[in-house]
Amino acid sequence: MKYLILLMLFSSCAIVHHVQVGDIESKKNYVRMPFEMKVSETGVDFREAGKLAQVVANNQAGNQIKQIADIIALFQMGPMTGNPVFNEKYADGLAKSIYTKCPSGNITGLVMIRETAKYPIVSGEIMKIKGFCLQKKTKRKNKRKS
């Protein structure tokens, strides 16, 4: 039983929570240049940590750790995706930083992906934005050799 729990705890997984595709615009004489950016923060699964402690530590200590983990988990209520993180503002600057990828501001076709890269106890809480930056086509001049 112990080995089964340990095996389950040491698995990893990529989970998608939300996908959103935005309007896509195409203009004549413009090319779509794809860009991608990502921010992430470490999440912690306290319940899983408690379970692991129960398996690894002796019975009394394991139970105490599990009780603490349960109390912490009680304070994290409400709808959420993924595991709780310590910095809830990690994705606030994402909209601003899109302009570093596309300074012209001709941004279209934004796809927002919210995903979790899950590992034992910890997880990567990821926000990924993909899109197109519209750039003017440059005309090639064919110079003839005289």
Binding site: S11, V16, H17, H18, G22, I24, S26, K28, R32
Partner: protein, 99 residues
């Protein structure tokens, strides 16, 4: 025999879960409908990458080269074909192309 029937029933049930939905502004003048779909097969809950999502934007954009796609409805579904053994996640985006 009863147990066998019960187990076979359990493993042949399937269901679909809707994980998320989003909708962008719908245009007054609706053009032709364009649709793109990407999916990912998952066996025994093992899924190590979500890169299958990367193609959806390009797939949709290619269907409306000289216009604007708006009113995009995005659906993210999880489908269970055989519990525990085989799942599929599917993302569908459907919108209107105004050229």
């Amino acid at each position: 025999m009863k147990v066998l029937i019960l187990i076979s029933m359990l493993f042949t049930v399937s269901c679909t879960h809707l994980s998320s939905v989003s909708q962008t502004s719908i245009p007054a003048k609706k053009g032709k409908v364009v649709k793109a779909e990407v999916d990912n097969n998952i066996f025994f809950f093992f899924n190590f990458s979500n890169s299958y999502l990367d193609a959806i934007n390009e797939k949709l954009a290619l269907q409306c080269e000289n216009g604007k796609i708006s009113g995009i409805l995005t659906k993210h579904e999880s489908i269970t074909y055989f519990p525990i053994i085989y799942h599929k996640t599917r993302v569908t985006a459907q919108g209107y192309c105004n050229e």
